[in-house]
């Protein structure tokens, strides 16, 4: 699988995650969201940016319960609720948001 | 002759065998997990010191940097080398014995 982003071919694995993390761009993120018929808003970007920073610091995509806890700490409890995050990312805040953020699937996610 | 060692001296006896069988004027290069032998303060530092009086010793820099080890703690007398200098050593010495 692959998508075309600004004339460059970006490879995806069989579940739609980027093969090379360095291929990520905002355009690539929106194209991945298009596959799920989702228009990325500022609220989505806030979570995506959070995930990319988390990965940069810890080299992992966090599990959902870790993500909610960490977001509560940084962006406030309203945004750290599962409800809020599932509304933004209906296929799962860890699974789907990580895909848009260009990260691997969270460890332990099936 | 060039000896190359890629196993930790604390996990396998590869380095001990190498040190026992190396001849004066041989060169010994430590890489991958073998780099742990090249640092000060370990229980094998004395064996390394003894070997340094008869052999040249080298340690591969990208491998020890990856493992969080610092050039300043390399035992004096051991020279740190890049990948291309590693290649030069394999050209300069013959044969090459890999202590796997």
């Amino acid at each position: 699988m692959a998508i075309e982003v600004n004339g460059k071919t970006v490879e995806l694995d069989e579940e739609g995650y980027l093969v090379n993390l360095s291929d990520w761009s905002k355009e690539a993120a929106q194209m991945l969201a298009d596959q799920d018929n989702l228009k990325l808003t500022d609220s989505h970007w806030e979570v995506i940016t959070f995930l990319r920073d988390y990965y940069d610091e810890y080299q992992i995509a966090p599990a959902v319960r870790v993500l909610t806890k960490a977001i509560s700490k940084k962006l406030g409890p309203d945004k750290g609720s599962s409800k809020y995050l599932y509304e933004l990312f209906p296929y799962g805040p860890a699974k789907q948001a990580c895909r848009f953020a260009g990260l691997p699937k969270p460890t332990g996610c099936v | 002759m060039l000896h190359i060692v890629n196993k930790s001296p604390f996990d396998r006896n590869s380095l001990q065998s190498c040190l026992r069988l190396a001849q004066p004027n041989d060169a010994i290069l430590m890489y991958e997990d073998g780099i742990y032998a090249a640092f000060k303060g370990t229980v094998i530092e004395n064996d390394i010191q003894t070997t340094l009086s008869k052999c040249k010793m080298y340690v591969l820099k990208p491998d020890f940097e990856a493992r969080g080890m610092n050039e300043g703690n390399v035992i004096p007398g051991i020279q740190s080398v890049s990948y291309s200098e590693f290649v030069d050593l394999t050209v300069q010495y013959s044969p090459v014995q890999a202590w796997l």
Binding site: S22, E57, Y58, Q59, I60, P62, A63, R65, V66, K69, A70, T107, G108 | N6, K7, S8, F10, D11, E32, D33, Y36, F39, K40, G41, T42, V43, E45, P62, D63, E65, A66, R67, G68, M69, N70, N73
Partner: protein, 127 residues
């Protein structure tokens, strides 16, 4: 883990240096996956396992050894409610390392303390 409610003590016993073999990374992944279950988890670092926690690891994917620096991930363990990290003193000292060489706070314990901790576990996972 099918006995829900019964909290068991799990110890991950790490004895290999990172990068040279896959054991260290595998152990860490199992720790993260296992954290989804309610268990009392501890990590012990023995023999070359103490090198896993060495700070200042500089790996790069495009140059150097071409691998991810997973030592950063040990700093995320507290987010996973894992805060019992033990380093065997003898293993640390044999390698010329000191407590301040580690990337995360650890408890330095002697061999007798480690034996006692191991004896208290329900399960020991060895890597």
């Amino acid at each position: 883990m099918e006995e829900s409610g019964a909290i068991k003590k799990f110890m991950y016993l790490n004895r290999k240096a990172p990068y040279g073999t896959i054991y260290a990374l595998e152990s860490l992944e199992v720790v993260l996956i296992g954290a989804a279950f309610d268990q009392e988890v501890s990590l012990a670092f023995v023999d070359d396992g103490v090198y896993q926690l060495k700070k200042d690891q500089k790996t790069t994917v495009n140059s150097g050894i071409g691998m991810k620096d997973f030592s950063k991930t040990y700093r995320a363990l507290e987010d996973y409610d894992i805060d019992k990290l033990y380093v065997e003193k003898r293993s640390m000292e044999a390698r010329g390392l000191r407590e301040e060489d580690f990337i995360v706070p650890v408890q330095i314990i002697d061999s007798a303390q480690l034996s006692a901790l191991m004896a208290q576990q329900d399960v020991i996972l060895s890597f």
